[in-house]
Symmetry: C2
């Protein structure tokens, strides 16, 4: 498995985390199926056998890349849920994700969306992995809003599940817009409007 240093044999000439980040960027830009092994290995700076020895297969590489993406980029947005109020949590979630979708040293948009919504028949489980990642984020949002409801932090009659879905949906739409070239300011203006639907901070 070669996760911990083996202490015997020829040592690896690359840093696994570094090449994984480079692979992530290729998947992010071209999607799972659009990322060929030639492009991947060129960006990672290693050869195919090294890639296969370290990651097993293209799909396994993608899963690792997506997991790492989730632990870093998506976690930034999820940190918004630590805000003290539901309103603040939603606002920070939408603003920080809008920011992450359009700025920074990486492709525009979101790997969870760019990775591949539609796939050829033999790769449908890749799309499912991505959908599961998005659903997990929505679930976290929903739990945060349920807690807010229990704390009296949401107006009576607000459906936490529907509100979480609304927020997540908007964020996904922003990802689509960002990939098509929308600016951060444009997305933030959209967030301004969405927040009017959420209600005043309480």
């Amino acid at each position: 498995m070669s996760r911990e240093t083996p202490a015997i044999g020829r040592p690896r000439a690359f840093d696994e985390a570094v090449v994984l980040d480079r692979a992530t960027e290729v998947f992010w830009r071209h999607g799972y199926e659009g990322a060929s092994l030639n492009v991947l290995t060129a960006a990672m700076g290693i050869n195919r056998p090294s890639l296969y020895a370290a990651f097993g297969s293209k799909e396994e590489l993608f899963r690792r890349a997506f997991a790492r993406y989730h632990e870093t980029k998506v976690a930034d947005a999820r940190a918004a849920l630590d805000q003290p109020t539901a309103y603040a949590a939603i606002e920070v979630f939408l603003r920080s994700s809008a920011n992450g979708l359009t700025t920074g040293d990486h492709p525009r948009g979101c790997l969870s969306i760019q990775g591949g919504l539609a796939c050829s028949p033999e790769n449908t489980h890749v799309a499912e992995v991505l959908a599961a990642g998005r659903a997990a984020t929505e679930q976290a949002l929903e739990e945060r809003l349920h807690r807010a409801a229990a704390e009296g932090d949401l107006p009576d009659g607000v459906d936490a599940r529907a509100l979480a879905r609304f927020v997540m949906t908007l964020s996904e739409g922003h990802a689509v817009h960002a990939a098509a070239g929308a600016s951060c300011e444009e997305l933030q203006a959209s967030v301004d409007i969405a927040l009017r639907a959420v209600g005043r901070p309480g």
Copy 2:
């Protein structure tokens, strides 16, 4: 060419509109790159040379399919812009698109999104065609809202462009959610929330 009946030579054994609709469904389900010629021709019920004689190339077939999609499915949602008020236009637009994304005799989601957000380097213009289609719809929404502003049908200070982008963004997010299995009712609940941001009818 063969768009009008040529009156000479062997007549075509298939209806161009029918096979184009079948191709549309394959692209819709698998995306541009995920739709192989084998799957396409099998679904269309014709052989490759017939496909190439009638449509020229896979990309040209896709453009035709997308154009037809726009003239039919997207046009249904666009018809919402004929509503007498801006609020009604937005509501009907969102509700009818949510409906179209989840019901009917076709794949879930939207071809403009499923077709391919991310592509391999040689197919980037396919993604651009799809983005241009979405931008055209957003543009139509914006123009409708500008008209509403001129008619005093929108509260003062409302940014028609931002509002159009918000509505379109939500609809794109709904397309992502629909492809992942969300029900029509779930999307409609999200529309309920969004409409709170738009303001009262009037």
